[in-house]
Symmetry: C2
Subunit: 148 residues, 2 copies
DNA sequence: AAGGAAATTGAAATTCAATTTCATTTAAGC
DNA sequence: GCTTAAATGAAATTGAATTTCAATTTCCTT
């Protein structure tokens, strides 16, 4: 896992160099914390985590670093039903969708090529070419179903 | 079509009576304008339309009437990629999803029972019970594909 | 029809996440 | 080390969504 993070940080570094951006210790700390979580975090949440160990790093820098990570292709921006902007590390290149529990908030990821193919088919029947899509299921997760 | 609108307005009226809400001329005008459009409108957009004929009706009342319509089940709230809250009249009882053109902004609606069934199936494989879902396709519509 | 409680209206104020500004600090090339 | 362009972070701004509140209107009861 450590390897993967370093690999990503390399990618980020080359992206920044190519874009003429500078590498700073703040960015390094923030990117590190972000990449190791693997969760769907808001800038605020990441800021809280980062500032536990580094009280001098500002929210704005965390915010901007997340945007930078998204631009460089290392993070994806996600907005679910709470309307907050969240970021998640881009794991591989693969696309996935989300099951979101209305009770405990748990987010489960899944991918289903058959479903994706069907989507493309449906769209093309309308003469519509898909660039991107958003698919989220809201309901109750296994654990919460158990409790009810 | 006129019939349908009146039918809806009846539904709204009985909902309001049941809830102890009062029927006012503002609400009547706003609901009327909204129900006859059949589009995906923001409160701001509906306000503009309404105030053309009724300069004394305030934005706040339009905003609140849309919320009321949503509560009463006559409107659905939708938020697409521009992050603006839009409302659309609930046509029948049936659910539908959206194809959104990145070029001209056209919104095409579709429903596909087979796709829906597959979604339920996928979710249940995770022990997840779906209450609601969001599915939007972003890309280029037939007309815009033609031009390119 | 008049009275009065309760809801509605609409302008203005507030909220709150997202974004921008700007003075100061820092990184990287020379 | 010097230069300068970028980065930082606190504070200010934005803008849609929502709330507040005094004035007005609805509608139920006499
Ligand atoms: Mn995810
Ligand atoms: Mn629709
Ligand atoms: Zn749950
Ligand atoms: Zn189009």
């Amino acid at each position: 896992m450590k390897k993967k993070i370093n690999e990503k940080k390399e990618r980020l570094k080359s992206f920044m160099k190519q874009k003429g951006f500078k590498s700073t210790k703040q960015r390094d700390i923030i990117a590190n914390e972000f990449l190791k979580t693997g969760e769907h975090l808001t800038a605020e949440e990441l800021y809280k985590r980062v500032s536990e160990g580094h009280k001098n790093i500002g929210f704005t820098t965390v915010y901007r670093t997340l945007k930078l990570l998204a631009e460089s292709g290392l993070a994806t921006e996600r907005i679910f039903a709470d309307h907050l902007t969240r970021y998640e590390p881009v794991s591989a290149e693969e696309h996935h969708d989300h099951l979101i529990c209305l009770n405990c908030g748990a987010i489960t990821e899944f991918e289903n090529p058959k479903l994706e193919r069907m989507q493309v088919k449906i769209a093309s029947d309308f003469g519509f070419s898909i660039v991107d899509h958003k698919m989220e299921f809201y309901g109750y997760c296994r654990d919460c179903n158990k409790d009810a």
